[in-house]
């Protein structure tokens, strides 16, 4: 038995692969779900389908997907030029911290001034956190995987330090910041919890898609990521592109942090360090480093996240079951999508014709 590359893939194959992955997930998780005391099929329906059956559910999915859109885009843009930014987590937090700094410094600004300022602050915060690894890479050729990765816990510690120190809530003494002023709320959409951060994210998805697909810059980015030497040979300034993408990536992640505190939390809390940046790596790579791929995967993960919470509440399944199901689904989907490029062949067939001579 061996895999043989398919010549042409039928269109239905991708859909069939995902379908197969869902069935496989169901089969693999049925045991644990039963162990935890629920019926697998109805649990599965809760996890994946239910959130999409009500308007409120869909809104929650959009809300859960919002931060992932930002971090997914951030990672995708960096990975695309061959800059392996694993630091979206830290940049996301830095963005949130910078936004908080603005909100705490100027609490009384009206929304018209407060929001742009806070968002720009967030983007700059992300840039600031992305700056050192990008600089080390550009000036000294130092690998960004290590530096961006190690700066993530440092960002968490900075967050804790600020919350335990200067930003400690003056009312409660707890390590979360004061509530932001009136002007610092991103407007809600459709009378739900979804906020304008989603719109910003969607605009960025479209802009990114257009830049990547339809501009010279997009072609250069792709070339630089795919074969840096050849791109350099063709006059693409790979180092410069990577440097700029690293900073843009930081800005996007930072904007995500800003969107999350302005749209959801309305204050800065330690719970913001919830792994949005790390998930962004999954979102970006699973989304094929394309803008709409990022959007699709973010929505899928949002769906499963909302579904997992719903299932926990309705079926009293342990919260970890959601993690098991999400990760199994993730792995079976990528495996199925990857295998679909191949045919499984039993062994080399023998020549049908008789031997001449």
């Amino acid at each position: 038995m061996r895999f043989v590359l398919r010549g042409r893939e039928p269109r239905w194959l991708a859909a069939a692969a995902v379908g197969l992955a869902i069935v496989a997930t169901l089969a693999l998780t049925a045991g644990p779900i039963r162990l935890a005391g629920a019926a697998p099929v109805s649990a599965f329906e809760r996890y994946v389908i239910s959130p999409l059956t009500t308007a409120n559910g869909i809104a929650e999915v959009l809300l859960a997907a919002t931060p992932l859109i930002f971090t997914g885009l951030a990672v995708a843009i960096a990975f695309r030029v061959g800059y392996y930014n694993i630091g979206a987590e830290g940049q996301f937090l830095a963005g949130a911290m910078a936004t908080t700094a603005v909100a705490l410094a100027l609490p009384d600004l009206p929304a018209g001034a407060a929001l742009p300022l806070a968002l720009i602050g967030g983007a700059l915060g992300g840039v600031a956190w992305a700056f050192l690894p990008a600089l080390l890479r550009r000036r000294a050729g130092i690998d960004e995987v290590v530096t961006t990765l190690l700066l993530n816990p440092v960002a968490v510690l900075l967050l804790q330090g600020l919350l335990n120190g200067p930003w400690r809530n003056p009312e409660t003494g707890f390590p979360d910041s004061a509530t932001f002023g009136e002007g610092y709320g991103l407007p809600a959409l459709f009378g739900s919890r979804v906020h304008a951060g989603l719109l910003i994210g969607l605009v960025l998805v479209v802009v990114t898609a257009v830049v990547l697909r339809a501009t010279p810059l997009g072609v250069r980015l792709r070339a630089a990521g795919q074969s840096p030497a050849a791109a350099e040979f063709s006059g693409v300034r790979v180092g410069l592109l990577q440097w700029r993408s690293a900073l843009v990536s930081g800005a996007l992640a930072g904007l995500g942090g800003a969107s999350q505190v302005l749209g959801v939390q309305h204050q800065l809390t330690g719970s913001l360090a919830a792994g949005y940046g790390y998930t962004g790596v999954v979102v970006a790579t699973l989304g094929g480093l394309s803008a709409f791929g990022v959007l699709a995967v973010a929505l899928l993960l949002g769906d499963v996240q909302v579904g997992a919470q719903g299932a926990s509440i309705a079926l009293q399944l342990p919260s970890q079951m959601g993690g098991v199901l999400t990760s199994v689904l993730l792995l079976t989907v990528v495996a199925a999508l990857s295998v679909r490029h191949y045919r499984l062949v039993r062994r080399t067939p023998r020549s049908p014709q008789p031997v001449r001579g």
Binding site: L136, V145, P153, L157, G165, P318, Q320, L330
Partner: protein, 299 residues
Amino acid sequence: MDFPVIAVLAATLTIATPLVFGALGALLGERTGVLNLGIEGTLYAGAFVGFYVAARTGSLAVATLAAVVAGALAGALMALLTVTLGVNQHVAGIGTTLLLVAACDFSNRQLFGGGQQTVTEKFDRWFAGSGIPAQYPMTFVAFLVLAPAVWWVLRSTGAGLRLTAVGENPEAADTAGISVARTRWTALVVGGALMALGGSFLTLSLLGTFTLDIVSGRGWICIALVIFGRWKVVPVVLGALLFGLFDALQLQLAITPAFGSVPNELLIALPYLVVIAALAVRGRGVRYPGSYLTAYRRA
């Protein structure tokens, strides 16, 4: 109070132990071109399975063996995904970590849910009370057996040569009659077993119990250390020691009166910042294995 230099150095070795297991496990895979981001989950699985089996059987030997098997299975999952099925290594690795952590947490809930925390037997320190050598057996294994063994295998054996060849140029290895898939599978399975041993150090040596999030990002540090050490055993181990030293140091400084006014967050950040600084000092020249992140398949 004099500054307890000996204690800090002893703690350095202890802290570095799981990092050495994890980083050398990761190094094996990466030398063949496969980045195993499943490491965090594999450490976790090693910690949990070791703990669970110790709780069930009361035997540390069986528990250690079980952790090794769990790690090997985790490595096999990674190999199935990335080597056999050709899945993107970032996604496969992070997915594996998510799965293993969730599966362990789920099992922990099902098996031990609520109630008193279970405590098991754990390894005793050797040379207790003797300063720096007062360490758990696994620390000796890490530094005196594992690190030299991996160093020797990579340097002086055909297996090491194959590993490197597959990682640098799979087509060349293939042409020389070396099975790329088998080499990568082996490296990932053995590497997974090593990672899980590192994870089991936390439960079976250090604590005798399991708590959620017990690994707390040590896996990611291992990944950073492998790159820091440029896929070579000695610098990787030195990197682990450097991290351990500054972690031990910050824990000591935190209760040293002279440092009373330094925010503890800054102290805790110290080991991370030191590794970044050391990397900056080491300078450029990171050269990834030639086939890093790429699957290999013949036409």
